[in-house]
Symmetry: C2
């Protein structure tokens, strides 16, 4: 009643005063639609590409169309999934030599703990980093970026941070659903610890790789395996259910993931889980116990569908007493910084993570 | 061309495969509308209130209607502004005694540097905080919350952090536009320094108070006045022009500020600036030089219209080599944590800031 009285007053002022309130039909429709408690009603809009607040290179990423096929892929069977994944992986791998050239990074292949890995190394390695090693778990929704296609983030960190990075080429569905990916990550992590003190080890990854980084910490705690000195879960898929405000608020705005239910995510989640509960902390680590986790730095963007996954993880780490830093980039959609690490914001994100690693890794 | 080919392929797969892609008309419309680089087209939506990821008290704030009158106030003249501000201030002041009671905080009035202030003190003051003093600059878009109505954030910090807090009752338009508010804040800050070592002093504020906290640092640097040990600009109005992605992405979603151009902000900005350039760093501190600023902790929420103001400030502080922490709360609109500091998230925000102050203030 009180609210209606105020609203009437506003209209009355508008009509009776010499100066118009300039309320548009949209303003009035919005006020009416949001005049009672409940879900928030937002109008359809054309949202401009920010220009003065982001670099020209990032502005180009923000302006980009939804990624054809990839954003809402839903192949009808295992063979179609494999064909799509392989086609995209071939395109992803093709750009990697040029990336490594720009970053002054070399690549080699090895097997650790029975799992294939790529080793990315900077051509100039500072003395302080000679005993340090970073384990990277690549992203791609548990389905995309097998093989060399998954090495871009490791190359960026090796190049910008001047660290040796081991990138796990973990198994994925449809051939190998959960827990194969986590088994592989764990096997490589244990192999790293066989030759490095945990105080010299960092683990990082973006998106699925961020979720797996967190799940790896929970599993290591459970199995009594030493934790690394520091982690960087970037925009982690910490909740594989569509739980978290930005799954809705940033839906259609994020041009990388676009949507959970209308996008490929829901299909990838179910393919990976293979019947397991999506709320199992090994799949959705936000439901795990974060006490005792190592210092963490988290990265996301204002348009990221996983903004909530990231900030919920950050708050939960802080609530558990873990030192945790958060960086949020203006205008970025999901994982823009690693999809193209050559924007000035991409470089800044990696350099900030590298500084955090340098602070927390023993020499 | 390549994009169109992919899009056609998706439709072809959908039609030719046994399993439907389940693309809805909305999906197809969205894909079509975002199939070329340009502004992002988002559909009108009803966005649910998050439940499992926020406290029941914060869920109630998120569900709340737009604030009648306050959200889009545009009084036709000075007398109407004053009448509106006074009416809202009376309502705001009325709840303060109950807040202080809950927080175990006392209030007194004084004059410092010729400016009226309120002094908020916790009933139990730990020994470590006896020499420490916090300066609070209240929010309210440079127009709202004169007098006791502006003391809520100071009371919350005094209660949760167990600090002595001095809250500046600075002059505001229409009676006193820029630079009166900054002159008053500066006068009180200098008066604080007359009796306290800067190492014992923190400055904080939310929204307009966050912008003024940053502007005060720039002015102190310019005038050769010592900077405090630590600051907390909460969701700062660091850019008074409508510049920053979340002014658009979170428009209509944030139920506190709602909109810049359709809301009261544009009117308040022009009333305060009184013809001054809105991009002057004393009005929009994001355009200033952040080198040498004290350690800072920033607070915002995923639905905050000032999400970009906050993260742009955070990045710029980090680029200037300043130690700066960011906390982003799930689902929060603008300044929810100080509008109601009694949600568990509100308490958490203040306690996190208090911890940061404790780390950086001398004893």
């Amino acid at each position: 009643m009180r609210r209606s009285a105020f609203a009437s007053l506003a209209v009355f002022l508008s009509l009776s005063s010499g100066v118009a309130l300039a309320q548009t039909p949209l303003d009035m429709a919005q006020e009416q639609a949001n005049s009672q408690p409940g879900p928030r009603i937002v109008p359809g809009r054309s949202i401009p590409v920010p220009t003065s607040t982001v670099s020209p290179e990032l502005a180009k990423q923000i302006a980009a169309a939804y990624r054809p096929v990839a954003w809402n892929a839903n192949p009808p069977d295992a063979a179609a999934w494999t064909a799509l994944v392989n086609r995209l992986a071939a395109a992803g791998a093709a750009v990697q030599p040029a990336w490594r050239e720009k970053l002054s990074v070399t690549i080699s292949q090895a097997t650790m703990g029975g799992v294939p890995v790529f080793i990315l190394e900077p051509k100039d390695m500072p003395a302080a980093n000679r005993n340090r090693v970073l384990l990277n778990i690549h992203g791609g929704g548990y389905v995309y970026s097998p093989g060399e296609a998954g090495t871009g983030e490791a190359a960026a960190m090796a190049g910008y941070g001047h660290f040796k990075v081991i990138s796990v080429d973990y198994r994925m569905p449809p051939a190998a659903p959960y827990p194969a990916a986590m088994d592989d990550a764990m096997a490589v992590y244990k192999a790293v610890l066989a030759s490095s003190d945990p105080s010299h080890v960092a683990v990082f990854g973006t998106s699925t790789g961020g979720g797996m980084t967190l799940a790896l910490m929970l599993r290591a705690k459970d199995e009594g395996v030493a934790l690394p000195a520091v982690i960087a879960p970037g925009t982690p898929w910490s909740d594989m259910t569509e739980t978290g405000d930005s799954y809705k608020t940033n839906e259609w705005l994020d041009n990388i993931l676009v949507s959970y239910g209308s996008g490929y995510l829901v299909h990838a989640a179910l393919l990976y889980a293979n019947g397991h509960d999506l709320k199992d902390p090994q799949l959705s680590p936000i439901y795990g116990d974060f006490h005792g986790l190592p210092p963490a730095i988290l990265t996301t963007g204002t348009r990221d569908l996983f903004l909530s996954n990231t900030v919920r993880t950050h708050r939960k780490l802080r609530q558990a007493g873990v030192e945790a830093q958060l960086q949020v980039f203006e205008g970025m959609s999901h994982a823009n910084y690693t999809i193209d690490p050559f924007t000035s914001e991409g470089r800044e994100a990696f350099e900030e993570i590298a500084r955090f690693f340098d602070t927390h890794l023993a020499k």
